[in-house]
């Protein structure tokens, strides 16, 4: 009853590990699968290796989390091996999150990633804390659309990860025209925290990406708007999913699947089973036989 299809990928349930969260190794991917996730998104991978920023790169706040990891990753060449291992050991779909400073770079990373086994590509054009590789890219809708078009030709689904910091409806439209298979929404929201005793920003990078339960109302709205503007286009809803109720809220808004990110800090990998069980029980109680009936249901009157 929980199976969904998202942009051609078959998921045993609508939970997806969000990008950047544990997505660094095949060994963690396996644990995430065993914990019950329906799909796995890798950490965003770029052409060259990136060390990321100095610590502190992660802050636990009262209502959410801030991070400015800085797209740390081993680079696609090195990550290729992890992708191969993922494909060997996993039965859930592996979505490769791709980052870069230009369309050319995105395409290059995606191409190599697909060669190494990625079953879908998610374009991260919305990281809020890396200059040149983040949100700015999303502002250049034509360039992103160009990359979408080329990657589409590799024969795998292409999801575009959106941010509230974009004119996301316009970007979404341009990407759809170029053949995008769907959207992931939302990435973290630009934010920062200052320690009142240190009297300094906590993140070494000063600014970071805000995630966790606090951003859910923002994510719900973006998903709702996307569903309204592009009915039928699959959306992975991400942002503040910290239990089955939150997952359901995004599904009702229009998400076919939901990403789980920083909630793992609080609930660890058990959150996947918790969501799956919660959704099942809800559906039984409320008389739904397929999760698909719930997708976008809040739009119908």
């Amino acid at each position: 009853m929980l199976e969904v299809e998202v942009a051609g990928l078959r998921l045993r349930n609508p939970t997806v590990l969000a990008s950047g969260v544990l997505g660094v190794s095949a060994s963690l991917a396996k644990r995430v699968e065993e914990a019950g996730a329906g799909a796995f998104t890798t950490k965003t991978v770029t052409r060259e290796p990136r060390r990321g920023y100095m610590n502190p790169t992660f802050v636990v706040l009262e209502h959410g989390y801030l991070n400015a990891v800085g797209l740390a990753n081993p680079g696609i060449e090195h990550f290729c091996q992890e992708l191969r291992e993922m494909r060997e050991s996993l039965s859930i779909p592996v979505i490769l999150s791709v980052g870069g400073g230009s369309a050319e770079e995105l395409v290059e990373v995606a191409r190599r990633g697909v060669e190494c086994g990625a079953q879908a590509v998610e374009l991260n054009v919305s990281c809020p804390h890396v200059r040149g590789m983040g949100v700015e890219l999303g502002h250049r809708a034509d360039e992103v659309a160009g990359a979408v078009g080329e990657i589409r030709r590799l024969g795998v689904p292409v999801l575009v990860k959106l941010s509230v910091h974009h004119d996301y409806l316009r970007l979404a439209e341009a990407c759809l025209d170029a053949g995008a298979s769907g959207f992931t929404a939302i990435n973290t929201v630009r934010g920062m925290a200052i320690d009142i005793y240190a009297r300094k920003p906590v993140l070494s990078n000063v600014y970071g990406g805000y995630s966790g339960p606090a951003i859910r109302p923002i994510a719900v709205r973006v998903v709702y708007e996307l569903y309204e503007a592009f009915p039928g286009v699959p959306i992975i809803g991400v942002g503040g999913v910290d239990g089955w109720e939150a997952a359901l809220e995004l599904i009702l808004a229009g998400a076919s699947a939901v990403g789980v990110g920083s909630a793992i800090a609080e609930k660890d990998l058990a959150i996947f089973e918790e969501i799956v069980r919660g959704l099942k029980e809800y559906m039984e109680r409320e008389g739904f036989s397929s999760i698909k009936e719930l997708v976008g249901l809040a739009h119908r009157s």
């Binding site: 969260v21 660094v24 190794s25 060994s27 963690l28 992660f58 636990v60």
Partner: protein, 268 residues
């Protein structure tokens, strides 16, 4: 967010090892857990809890690079540092029986905390602790309150001349223990694991890896092939798990996620 931790005392406990007493309110840590220590504008690093009593957190900090170097040079009473945590899974508390502690360098600190919290006595606890030289020794006198302590030094300037696992080997050859706890350089842990092969002693050892979030989210500290996160699934792991960790003693994951061969000095 972090809790402010004022330096109450800072003294060089041994060569390159600073002992810090920090006044800070934290959820009570258990032995084997660690904190993230933030020095504004400098950096943030994981540190094992050496003690926590009456709102005073005790740390032993080996001078290494940017952050530890800064602390060594600037820590004096009144300085404000910042701490979050405690994090991770610590040691299983011994419930009676005979216990062997094997510590190397500042790895002695969490073992001392364990001995103290568990209320061990030399009747039930033997500790083998190793240091580079007699000038690097920490916590040995205090540890004697709880354990029968044997010391080894690399240069023979105190106690056994040689690596601490040789002391452990000697102890193990003469006696059966119920539990062995180890903390120190990863090569030392590998040796202890080897010593215990085919024996019945339950081992628990604490590991270190590069950390960012410390709460199990970012994946920086993952160990292959089990996908275990040092910050959350560890830093303390059982011998059974350690045996299945191919990374153990071999691979260190860099901040960019690539692995490099584990340098012998990777741990204080």
């Amino acid at each position: 967010m972090h809790a402010r931790a004022r330096v109450a005392a800072a003294r060089l406990a041994a060569e390159q090892v600073l002992e810090l007493l920090l006044e800070v309110e934290l959820p009570d840590p258990s032995p084997g857990q660690f904190v993230m220590l933030w020095v504004p504008r400098v950096g943030e690093v994981p540190m094992s809890v050496a003690d926590y009593e009456g709102g005073v957190l005790r740390l032993f900090i080996t001078r290494r690079g940017v952050v530890t170097g800064y602390i060594h040079e600037n820590a004096r009473p009144g300085l404000a540092l910042f701490v979050r945590g405690p994090y991770g899974r610590g040691f299983t508390m011994p419930r009676g029986g005979r216990v062997l502690l094997v510590g190397g360098g500042t790895g002695t600190a969490p073992l001392y905390f364990l001995a103290k919290r568990a209320g061990l006595s030399s009747a039930g606890c033997t500790a083998a602790v190793g240091f580079k030289s007699s000038r690097h020794v920490i916590l040995v006198d205090e540890l004697r309150k709880y354990c029968d302590v044997r010391v080894a030094t690399d240069d023979g300037s105190l106690g056994h001349h040689g690596p601490v696992h040789e002391l452990a080997a000697a102890l193990l050859s003469g006696e059966r223990y119920d539990r062995v706890y180890a903390c120190g350089p990863e090569q030392m842990i590998v040796e202890v694991l080897r010593l215990l092969e085919g024996r019945e002693e339950a081992l628990e050892a604490s590991l270190e890896r590069y950390m960012r979030c410390a709460v199990g989210v970012c994946g920086s500290c993952v160990l292959d092939p089990l996908g275990l996160r040092v910050c959350r699934d560890g830093p303390v792991f059982s011998g059974a798990v350690l045996r299945r960790l191919h990374d153990l003693g071999r691979w260190w994951r860099e901040p960019d996620g690539r692995k490099r061969p584990l340098a012998p000095q990777a741990t204080g």
